[in-house]
């Protein structure tokens, strides 16, 4: 485990708001705010959070489809020494994109409806290995079979597939270049319950076959608990708690994590406690100083409003809270 594939340090992604042709930029949204974490080889690293927490932005920053404002992302693969992604040229990124691939949330929109499966899944192979013709068809056919689709689907267009099948295509496409790390952004949340289970199983099987590392971004805590080894909880651009699965789900230390877990409906009748500690307010409540969660935190005290909480290390978990003992 002690072999980090990805090291993220002090990553910032700020979007200006209020800027226009004439107007002056008034403020920035800190979609990703000084985030640091490591991802170890072979693990599934989960990132959870509500909408607007910045988890998708974080994923896109790591992929460098967005250019982070500051910070450092270092990638170490088996074949390549440590490479810094921030500031890497397009050519360097093109090489890195072979080792680090992405599965998108919406399989419908990530597959160009005008291209055949052969071209969609094989595109990366065409570029990276220069495969053509029968050789390409063979390789793509193998990939299709590996994700549980038929070889005969090669010449079909994406429209001819169901949602679950399309997500398998997306996975096949991500695997085409034999990557080491796959970022899955809400990869199963658009799928039906029965298809979701199939897809999760498939991803786990492929993890073994390919020795993959996953960064699994999702809002469904139950899925994350099932799938991931370590989990980071994000709130308004910051990681408020990062711990291994069992610690995080059995003994959450951050009030936000706890509130989030409380809010998840359990598929057990009458399991719900009489009244949960539901956070009040909405996510977009922002504060200029202090802890970002303070406006919604039932445990907030003066210190929470006045100064930004430090990042604490408690055992194996990382925590950003003034009162870790209070939960």
């Amino acid at each position: 485990m002690a072999d980090p594939v990805l090291k993220v340090r002090n990553l910032d992604m700020h979007f200006p708001i209020g800027g226009s042709f004439f107007g002056k930029q008034t403020d920035v949204v800190r979609a990703v705010d000084k985030i640091s974490f490591d991802v170890f080889r072979g693990e599934s690293f989960g990132i959870v959070g509500e909408s607007g927490s910045g988890k998708t932005t974080l994923g896109r920053c790591i992929m460098r489809t967005l250019d982070p404002s500051a910070g450092s992302i270092k990638l170490t693969t088996k074949t390549r020494p440590e490479a810094e992604l921030i500031g890497a040229s397009r050519a360097e990124m093109t090489a890195i994109w072979r080792d680090m691939r992405m599965v998108f949330q919406d399989p419908q929109s990530s597959l160009n409806p005008r291209l055949r499966v052969l071209d969609l899944v094989g595109q990366a192979l065409q570029k990276s290995e220069g495969l053509k013709g029968q050789a390409l068809a063979d390789r793509v056919g193998d990939l299709l079979e590996q994700v549980g689709l038929q070889r005969a689907f090669l010449m079909r267009y994406p429209n001819a597939f169901s949602g679950g099948q399309r997500q398998r295509l997306g996975i096949a496409r991500a695997l085409a270049t034999k990557p080491e790390i796959v970022i899955a952004d809400e990869a199963v949340s658009a799928l039906d319950v029965s298809i979701q289970a199939q897809t999760l199983n498939l991803m786990q099987d492929l993890q073994e076959d390919y020795d993959l590392t996953y960064i699994f971004i999702a809002h469904d805590l139950a899925v994350v608990e099932h799938f991931c080894d370590r989990v980071a909880v994000m709130y308004l651009g910051q990681i408020v708690e990062l711990a291994d699965r069992d610690t995080l789900f059995r003994a959450p230390k951050h009030p936000y994590t706890k509130a989030l877990l409380d809010a998840v409906p359990r598929p057990v009748p009458k399991a719900r406690s009489a009244k949960r500690v539901a956070p009040i307010g909405k996510v977009s409540d922002r504060v200029s100083t202090g802890c970002k969660f303070a406006p919604r935190c039932p445990l907030a005290q003066d210190v929470c409003w006045s100064s930004e909480p430090p990042t604490l290390t408690l055992g194996s978990s990382q925590l950003k809270c003034h009162r870790p003992d209070a939960v």
């Binding site: 042709f21 992929m63 489809t65 397009r90 093109t94 994109w97 072979r98 691939r101 992405m102 998108f104 949330q105 919406d106 929109s109 990530s110 597959l111 160009n112 409806p113 005008r114 291209l115 055949r116 595109q123 990366a124 570029k127 990276s128 079979e145 590996q146 994700v147 549980g148 689709l149 038929q150 079909r156 267009y157 429209n159 001819a160 099948q165 496409r173 199939q198 199983n201 498939l202 099987d205 492929l206 076959d209």
Partner: protein
């Protein structure tokens, strides 16, 4: 191997097995008016291409004894000298009479005298497609000496039908050439605007907004009026085409930009970049195919606009000048109400041609747009 859940029964009838272009074509075919319009438009362009072949007369030939001849009908049966009814395409020969008091001309059918008509007849000679010297014509009087005005004649006794057919060449090609010019400007500016965004986008957007806010006719009039009268026809033609294409490109550029902007956010574009494609490859392989159908549809809809623009300018006398024959310059003949009352066919014949051509192009473009739109109702 990983465990596989073999999907069941994939033989279900799914229309989506067709490719996107095939789907579009199938949808287009269902739109019957549009499909008929496509055939008509193709026919019009064929007529334009082989203009002289289809024109029964030389469009420049004047005839002092055939001034303002009303349209002559085509008849099927005639009585020969022995009084028997015979079948044969023919027109009735006309005789001009001048009322000495009012100085008005009128034309009487001469009973018994007929002008036999036929297909592939001999007539004036011309160069087919500009190369081969030919003297055959698609349809006309069998004897080269005879003249029949199917759609009447003008103040110099020139055959309107032949002039409309020859005018098709200019009018329909201005639409096409104009569209190509708009396409080049529109797609490149719209593409730049949409792909790069930022200040470039802003400048181009302001430019388009500006161009769209100017009333077009005065602007064209201003530009067209600056064309010296002494310029050779070809150059005038080219400049008028350029002026006319000024309208087309703004809307096209907007559309392309909009498509670029929305496509740029699409996951499949990001996915293609992550597959290692260069920007240019992303544009070529993913973006262009995604909006080409829309572009084709909007181009088709732009052609009639340009035809109308040319017609309007030429009609006002500041576009193409009369030595060039176009539908607009033909209508110029019918500019005042007196002429129209004396010879309504000068207005009706070219007018109807324009309306039919524009109508067909509009229906065609509309059908294409519907077919291209996956979310059509």
């Amino acid at each position: 191997m990983t465990a596989i859940d073999q999907p069941h029964d994939t033989s279900v009838i799914m229309p989506e097995l067709l490719g996107p272009w095939a789907l579009m074509w199938r949808k287009f075919r269902r739109h019957r008016i549009a499909y008929a319009s496509l055939c008509l438009v193709v026919m019009i362009y064929i007529v334009a291409l082989f203009g002289n072949f289809f024109a029964p007369e030389d469009f420049t030939d004047t005839n002092r004894r055939g001034i303002y001849v009303p349209p002559q009908g085509i008849h099927l049966f005639y009585e020969d000298k022995s009084g028997d009814r015979q079948f044969g395409l023919h027109a009735k020969a006309l005789k001009m009479e001048v009322d000495q008091a009012t100085m008005r001309r009128s034309y009487e059918e001469q009973s018994g005298k007929i002008v036999p008509l036929g297909f592939f007849v001999k007539g004036h000679s011309y160069k087919l497609l500009g190369f081969w010297k030919v003297d055959r014509h698609f349809f006309g009087p069998k004897k080269p000496k005879d003249v029949v005005y199917f759609l009447g004649s003008d103040r110099l006794g020139r055959d309107i039908l032949s002039r409309i057919i020859i005018g098709t060449q200019v009018s329909m090609s201005i639409g096409l050439v104009g569209v190509v010019v708009s396409l080049l400007i529109g797609v490149s500016l719209g593409g730049v605007s949409g792909y790069y965004g930022g200040w470039i986008d802003n400048v181009i957007q302001r430019l388009i907004e500006f161009l769209r806010s100017i009333p077009t006719i005065p602007l064209w009039m201003g530009l067209a009026a600056a064309i010296p009268l002494g310029w050779p026809p070809l150059r005038t033609y080219f400049v008028v085409t350029l002026i006319v294409s000024m309208i087309g490109w703004t809307s096209l550029a907007r559309e392309v930009r909009g498509k670029f902007l929305s496509l740029r956010k699409e996951d499949f574009i990001t996915a293609a970049r992550l597959d290692g494609l260069s920007d240019w490859e992303v544009i070529r392989k993913h973006m262009v195919p995604s909006f080409s159908s829309h572009i084709i549809a909007s181009l088709t809809l732009a052609v009639p606009l340009m035809i109308l623009a040319e017609t309007s300018l030429s009609f006002l006398g500041i576009g193409l000048q009369p030595s060039i024959v176009s539908w607009g310059t033909l209508l110029k003949e019918a500019q005042n109400i007196r002429t129209i009352i004396e010879a309504p066919w000068l207005l009706i014949a070219p007018g109807a041609t324009i309306v039919i051509a524009v109508l067909a192009l509009n229906f065609l473009g509309d059908g294409l747009r519907d077919a291209a739109d996956p979310h059509a109702h």
